[in-house]
Symmetry: C2
DNA sequence: CCATTCTTTATAAAAATTGTCAAGATAGTT
DNA sequence: AACTATCTTGACAATTTTTATAAAGAATGG
């Protein structure tokens, strides 16, 4: 039972924007540096997030990605579903994926268990918002690393 | 977030013995046929289950695998942990796996979320026993397919 | 016009999963 | 003792998924 790297990175990226840039937007370059994630790989993940409408983007100098909703309106579950394509523990319980219907559907007791597990997982992930993560980070004393664009050099 | 095939097959195999053979033991050949799982692959999974002590084995004609505990004493969580090697959603929260320590451990807010999710999943899987599955199967009207060894040919 | 940044698509490397093969050990049967 | 059915073990191969990397393109701001 494992969460994909894209999901973990996706949640961290969204959190990073919310925490370090205060919703103003951040560049892939900086997020990459702060989170230690390959820039190219991060770009792929952001495309998914952008198409899903969870972030917006702006090209050119001083461009970047920004949250299109407030941190308290974005849940961890939402980000995971976008980057991972569902939180179901097994494919046969995913109603969307009719391409691979389980042969023993209807006579499969374990399916009921996987289904319930997926439901519980979804419920939990949906109960955690990005704002919650920011609050946690603050309590842990994580330093905010504001973007250099907002700094004045004396 | 997906459960590995070995875990799913493992749970189904244990359930199969409990349901169809009533704890008397069953052969890989029959379990393979009933569950539609490759015989060779199933053998691999049974080795894990045997080493973990959840099933016993007997070689030779009329040999096979049998549960070494009662169905109500075996939980789905137990089987999954054996076949999957832990239910933690991400590696960095697994205390055993110190080989890949997360660089930002201690300063990682998402880790807290993954940890809690894993805990909840474990709790749920531990709350479901093999006997529960058998009861479910009975309620669903699943036919029992007793081993031919116990049949009389007239 | 130019540098910077996102966009898109293709592709490659790595890892994990899934499955197969084959030789051997053990137990029961004849 | 010979024979057969079954588990045992380790090696290995195929497939899929994950995790990236590369490169050409488009938009933006200065």
């Amino acid at each position: 039972m494992r969460l994909s790297t894209q999901s973990r990175y996706g949640v961290r990226a969204i959190f990073d924007i919310a925490y370090h840039s205060g919703g103003l937007g951040a560049q892939v370059k900086d997020i990459s540096r702060r989170q230690g994630i390959s820039q190219r790989y991060l770009e792929q993940i952001f495309q998914k997030l952008r198409r899903a409408g969870i972030v917006g983007s702006k090209r050119g100098p001083s461009g970047g990605y920004f949250l299109s909703k407030k941190p308290e309106q974005i849940t961890v579950g939402e980000v995971i579903r976008i980057t991972e394509g569902g939180i179901n523990p097994v494919l046969c319980v995913n109603p969307d994926d009719s391409a691979k219907p389980c042969a023993r559907s209807g006579g499969c007791v374990t399916q009921i268990v996987w289904n319930e597990a997926g439901k519980r997982l979804n419920d939990y992930f949906d109960s955690v918002t990005i704002k919650d993560l920011c609050q946690l980070a603050k309590e842990m004393g994580m330093k905010k690393d504001f973007d250099k664009r907002f700094m004045y050099y004396i």
